[in-house]
Amino acid sequence: MNLHPLVAVAGSPNAGKSALFNALTGARQKVGNYPGVTVERHSGKLTLADGRPVELVDLPGAYSLDPASPDEAVTRDVLLGKQKGERQPDALVIVVDASNLDNHLRFCLQLIELGLPTIVALNMVDLAKRDGLELDRKTLERELGVPVIETVAVRRRGITDLQTALDNMLSAPFCGMHEHVTSDLIHLQRRAREIATAAVVSETPVRRWTHRLDSVLLHPVLGPVILAAIMFVMFQAVFAWSEAPKSWIEDAVASLSNLVSGVLPPGVLRSMIVDGAIAGVGAVVTFLPQILILFFFILLLEGTGYMVRAAFLMDRLMHGVGLSGRAFIPLLSSFACAVPGIMATRTIDDPKDRLTTILVAPLMTCSARLPIYTLIIAAFIPNARLAWGVGLQGVVMFGLYITGITGALLAAYVLRRGVLKGGGGGFMMELPKYQWPLLKDVAIGMLTRSQIFLKRAGTIILGTTIVLWALASFPHAGPGQKQSEVSIAGHIASGIETVVKPIGFNHDIALALLPAMAAREVAVSAIATVYSIDSPDEKASATKLQDKLQHRWSLATALAFLAWFVFAPQCISTIAVTRRETNGWKWPLFMVGYLFVLAYAFAGLTYWTAVALGL
């Protein structure tokens, strides 16, 4: 039983709520999920001046207690004490944007009516001043009937005052809350406007910064060009900056497995730890730098307010295939990894829009496909030059990306006209003021993301890799037998082979497809292992693997293999995150099904065409 007082931080979107929450709790935060819904629960600890601990919970931003999205429903239920997995808050901190009181006071008034001990944080007073707006805090206090503290959360200003006020409030006796609040939004809105007008001391009209920036960033021609440039830099960074840390992690994984191999005697245990756990989890953890860099950009773009502008610019195009502008960022993130991409779909209000985005996200070429593409292209596509600076290999790689994007757009189009027909498909977003986020807030965001990622690597992925290792290692091959054929995995592969033979896949590929379920890039090491286990005289070095492939696979098979990986849902983590985000097995199974059908069809089409052309 937790007896610490629970204080909820509530407010309208873009009031700077999360920054204030970060300012109050620092990095001492926990990110979880409310049971049964895909809404994140952010909580943290705060110690009052007298040493009393207080639990703070950051509620999702809401415009009123009448929810228009699942996030807002959680906010309402928590505040009314009806949310599963959360107790009724003992007090409230309401965050309002000083330069948008007309709007934010509406929700604020509704919250004050609840009758809980309440403090209002009049946030971003600096930006209001920048816009020429001078407010009177005392007038607000009188009109609202609760303490009002001026804050600038991103600069950590006013935080001590807020803590003192919180301290006083939690020491005072509490007289019980009201169950019924005004739900007449129009009435509340008008009252909010009256109070906002009364609180304005002076207003000097100035050309607003945000408006000036928007005339450039939302310019019909310049806007898309700048967006493309930002995306280009982001991708360069995700791939270029991650190379060094990625190789450090790879080295660390290698030395760890050497260390374990040295300490443990040869046998089942060592094989399980080294070949199963370390190899499998290690392969996935090497993606951590890319994911962190990606999230750095996403958090920066979100914090500055640019993200919504990107959605604004892309909305019409996305609308053409039945998605909304909000799907743009999740799909973009999926180029690095579908897992953060699918997690980022939480910002999409419309459930059908969101589900469509989740279902097509795996078609974006994630970085785990790169090792496979690189290997096969290097082995089978001649390094010919088509034009100055344009090589055939690069064109094939580009073609694979384009095929994925086209596939995703077509799939979205079909889904929105089939199983996911209907729904609002609307696009209604607030364009917040631009501001420079505190790097510390970005860092906290990256920290919580990497914790979530590593937790998954340590649980789901660890579990799967051990199972796959066991399947591939038992029973042991006798003399003259091939491990790849005798093991359970070998038998399963033979089963798979009968299915994939028509599309040009051999037993080696069938065997590689199985462990590649854990993570696509494992296919490369799996093929390498098969060839090295089966023929111990050959060393399985990366350079040799290319040559081996050239001898054992036809060009048609290689091309079919590439086509397969454009579509195949070969990733347990993606399936797991889809299950979590859609609260059930229905949609992940649907996703796996339709992607396998597409993969089979396209690999087959590629193979048969190539064979017909005599390749």
């Binding site: 415009y63 228009a68 709007n103 939004l185 019409r316 609002g424």
Partner: protein, 88 residues
């Protein structure tokens, strides 16, 4: 609640960028419940001053509109449900 017909009242999607106008009525019935709720959240209400600021680069959709002290983006279709009287 239809406003009496006024010849100079136009729907918000037809209002030129940079022209301020006052909302004369909102055809709530043309919007579904969630959309209507969101528009109310944004502060769309009779008598409020609005001003289109930017248009999307493709098909001039969506529209960024200043409403009260905030800027919101809505699609052309939804702006069509909002009737405004331009301020001369």
């Amino acid at each position: 609640m239809n406003a009496p017909f006024r010849p100079d009242v136009i729907s918000l999607d037809l209002l030129k960028v940079g022209t301020r106008a006052r909302v004369s009525s909102v055809d709530w019935a043309a919007l579904d419940e969630g959309e209507a709720c969101r528009l109310r959240h944004f502060g769309f209400d009779e008598g409020v001053t609005v001003e289109p600021l930017h248009l999307g680069p493709f098909g001039r959709d969506p529209i960024a509109i200043r409403v009260g002290r905030m800027t919101v983006a809505i699609r052309r279709r939804h702006a069509g449900a909002i009737h405004v009287l331009p301020i001369q």
